[in-house]
Symmetry: C2
Subunit: 544 residues, 2 copies
């Protein structure tokens, strides 16, 4: 039957009509078509697209000379500086996989990740020299080659590696003949996610997905050619939601930002006429709350993508008032960052601010290039009615879904059960088909844009000898969105433990941003079968 | 080696993370996310995206009931009316291939095509009833099922088929469970191109390419969400350059247009605030040349894509003056329509009109999603220097290149020789990397946006007993861009033949638009080996 289909005969793929999809192609095209436009700005540094491409080829060539290639992992411990942008191209150009480490993690977590991914080369900003030295001391598998990245705009820090970044890339060939992946399904990046249980999981994404996610961002954000984009979102967060590649596609300008500081943000927006940026609610809140004087001279429309913990209605309202245009998006590391967006219906423009904000602050609808996003009954997989009240689990299906978890087939199989990627987030669907998240995956706390697994905090607290049970839940916080709050049951015969003592204990085991902001001692609410009822704890928390 | 790569282990494709790329997905998404926005306008008719999707599902279901499926061809003989838009989705939804016939062809050409593609079902606008009856009488392979499409805005015409379109689709199920292709390489469309030699070739395109071409159009045209697009370009021309699918992607509005009439065009632009349209230079010329009164009330910016014969500098200049924003694009049926575009550099905005037009009227650079377009020495395949004067052949490589020619492996192999698709068009590259076509593929005449193969005209003329040799070349024409001009050598002993007699002879064999507009009798310029030198003939023509 198949054989008799004339449309499949003598019409095969060949080098002229088939090329694997890869976002690396975007950089090459833009370097050729817009060589003199500005690619990257960082304080007084400026690069053109031609320069960025040449530097990336040099960087890739130097890595290649080190023996880096397909199947290898190159990790970064970098803030949003030009080297981090270049890493998003140069590392995959060698065939290797880019692993961006969260710079806020502690040595234990980092060591787990570097061991798990067999990190071969590690780029380290000098700010993190001490932390990485501690990390390396903990490694059990292999010690990576370390390349120090010196940032002339950052004082302090030390050189701890075998190479210095600029010297290293200068040793490479700017005419290096890099290759596209031979298969678009090849891995491009590895991002560790702090799941709700156990060790971090390594989300593996591929070239095809990164290509399509970048494009889908352009459509969702309605980014025109040559948009100027400010890097408020950490590039280490699911590859900056794939925006590094989107900016290369549209020949835009990347304005780097070492740390989130509202004065600097608004200065950069004014100075470079920034039109786009992304971030957690806290970034947008800072901008909205800044004194008017800081926003003086910004007379153009600035567009922001916002994703994060609870539907930040207040942020939307404030941003409307100062004329910033926010679009709500939603996704997970497993979906290349955002894969749902609150697409604005033209008729919303005529609503009152309050009505419009109510619509805009929802998670929304599937991204243009995500095949399907649905809110399904977790067991039956039937779609919930569009009634704004029936809870279901958000599930994804399509090309903006990861390959799976590295070296973790059971977690991969669980995530993809029944042909859907299970987000673990619970939502309702409004009558117009727009999703609203009602409950985050039970155990994740999203603080300042960072996912914190409550389990990790619980495990740390349980190390204290006086503690018998613990449950950590998210507590609303004006600044951070959410912060952890710990409900603690002490052992009956144990000596009294003070909040201060428990906090000191936690500080020995957890990164600072994961520390609970509140400790409540007492018996935990449980079901008849003894399971802790976190939703009751949350209610207790907010009643107080 | 491959086996030891952890990024390829237990990380396979599955239904949750891999979906074949197909532009059909765009329609489904937009029907769900923007159900009430207007999809199609035709005079007083209006459809929403929800309605269009339901109608397409019904249409696909009805075709499925007829037995249409994978490997089958469904042809259309339709102007730019809603049924033609729907055909771009409904036919591929069945797994079948859409073959859009050029409504300006004659019965002989049409019969060749319908036989060649084993057309199973043919949609016919009543205007073409007579022509299709003649065509069907010539068929040698199989007679297709004919579905008449009645257009209430067109008087005249007859019903000749077994079904009437609205009744036919009403017989289908609007909840039809259509399937995406199981392979994105599956054919989506078949378009016959009038090549320079012999019979028309059937260009086969696939779902993956149509998906990427649609997206690449959005990027090249900078079409925002919900753009309003006027169908001045025939949908039968390489599927309207893939814009039907692009409009579904951005949830835009299609304004249908039965025939190109400048009064109607400007009326529709004003009435529906049309912001985008495409076409051959003649369409844009008409708009530019229209009396100012016809453009009254059009106060918004209208963006046009222009492709066609000679670099139409004058059209660009006139359009600048009336405030229409033109972008030059270039491509072939084999490249899904445009795959090169004259991307505007921001600094051009500061140039004088003449300088800007000189830059804008070039063919330009590769499309965002076309991997590579280069001007190469036809033999050595080395890139020509970017000197604005060295001629080479434009060649394409990437995902916006056809599968090949249907049932024509030798033509397919020739087109893809050495890993490039050979356009046959000769160009130079300016120092900024922008291509300029200097000579069309030797034998093609582009008249009012239609490709006319000179060989076909030559063959018709040679049927006249008095003619011994003939060469047809393009002659510049203010209205049509180019028209055919015939250089004719008569047999030495033959009786004299008048221009009028030869023209009558041609009219019996050729479609009206292919008829030469000038006949020059005399000896043909030839090389020493006897080959006709067309470039000399062209010079003679323009000296006269």
């Amino acid at each position: 039957m198949e054989m008799s289909n004339p449309y499949n005969q003598d019409l095969d793929k060949n080098p002229a009509n088939y090329v694997p999809l890869s976002p690396l192609s975007f950089l090459e095209r833009t370097a050729v078509t817009h060589p003199h436009l500005t690619s990257v700005i960082y304080n007084e540094q400026r690069f053109t697209w031609e320069q960025t491409y040449l530097r990336c080829k040099q960087f890739a060539s130097a890595l290649h000379q080190l023996g880096v290639g397909e199947g290898d992992t190159v990790s970064t411990m970098l803030p949003n500086i030009p080297a981090m942008y270049e890493a998003h191209f140069a590392i995959p150009m060698t065939g290797a996989v880019l692993n961006t480490l969260n710079t806020r993690l502690n040595a234990q977590s980092l060591a787990f990740m570097l061991d798990h991914c067999d990190c071969k080369v590690l780029l380290v900003d000098t700010e993190f020299a001490d932390l990485i030295e501690q990390t390396v001391a903990l490694l059990q598998v292999a010690t990576p080659v370390i390349i120090d990245v010196e940032d002339s705009y950052h004082a302090g820090g030390r050189l701890i590696g075998q190479y210095e970044y600029e010297t290293f890339i200068a040793s490479g060939d700017d005419q290096f003949h890099w290759q596209l992946p031979n298969d678009e399904w090849n891995a491009i990046a590895l991002s560790y996610t702090s799941g709700t249980t156990g060790n971090p999981k390594g989300v593996v994404t591929h070239h095809r997905g990164a290509y399509l996610a970048a494009m889908s961002n352009v459509l969702a954000a309605q980014m025109p050619a040559h948009a100027v984009y400010l890097w408020t979102l950490p590039l280490f967060h699911c590859n900056g939601w794939c925006f590094p590649w989107a900016l290369a596609l549209i020949a835009g300008t990347n304005v780097c930002l070492r740390r989130v500081d509202v004065n600097v943000i608004l200065e950069q927006i004014r100075l470079h006429r920034v039109t786009y940026y992304c971030g957690a609610p806290i970034v947008h809140s800072m901008i909205a709350d800044a004194p008017d004087s800081l926003r003086e001279g910004i007379n153009h429309t600035v567009h922001g993508l916002i994703a994060g913990a609870p539907p930040p209605t207040s942020v939307f309202t404030r941003m409307e008032h100062i004329g910033f245009n926010l679009t709500h998006v939603y996704g997970l590391t497993e979906t290349y960052g955002p894969a749902v967006g609150c697409a604005k219906q033209p008729e919303w423009a005529d609503l009152s601010v309050a009505e419009r904000v109510a619509r805009n602050s929802r998670q929304g609808v599937r991204y243009h290039l995500q095949q399907d996003v649905a809110v399904l009954h977790p067991k039956t997989l039937q779609p919930v009615p569009w009634d704004g009240s029936t809870l279901g689990e958000i599930m994804f299906r399509g090309n903006l879904v990861m390959k799976g978890y590295l070296k973790n087939p059971s977690a991969t199989a669980a995530a993809f059960k029944n042909g859907w990627f299970h987000s673990g987030d619970l939502a309702v669907v409004d009558p117009d088909g727009y999703m609203r998240i009602r409950d985050r995956a039970k155990d994740v706390i999203i603080s300042g844009g960072e996912n914190i697994a409550s389990l990790e905090i619980e495990e740390a607290i349980l190390l204290h000898p006086a503690v018998s049970s613990v449950a950590v839940v998210a507590m609303k916080d004006d600044k951070w969105g959410e912060v952890p709050a710990a409900f603690v049951e002490l052992r009956p015969q144990a000596p009294a433990v003070s909040t201060e003592e428990l906090h000191q204990h936690c500080a020995q085991h957890l990164a600072r941003y994961k520390l609970p902001k509140k400790y409540i001692f007492g018996e935990l609410a449980r079901t008849s079968t003894g399971k802790v009822q976190k939703f009751v704890l949350r209610e207790q928390l907010h009643e107080k």
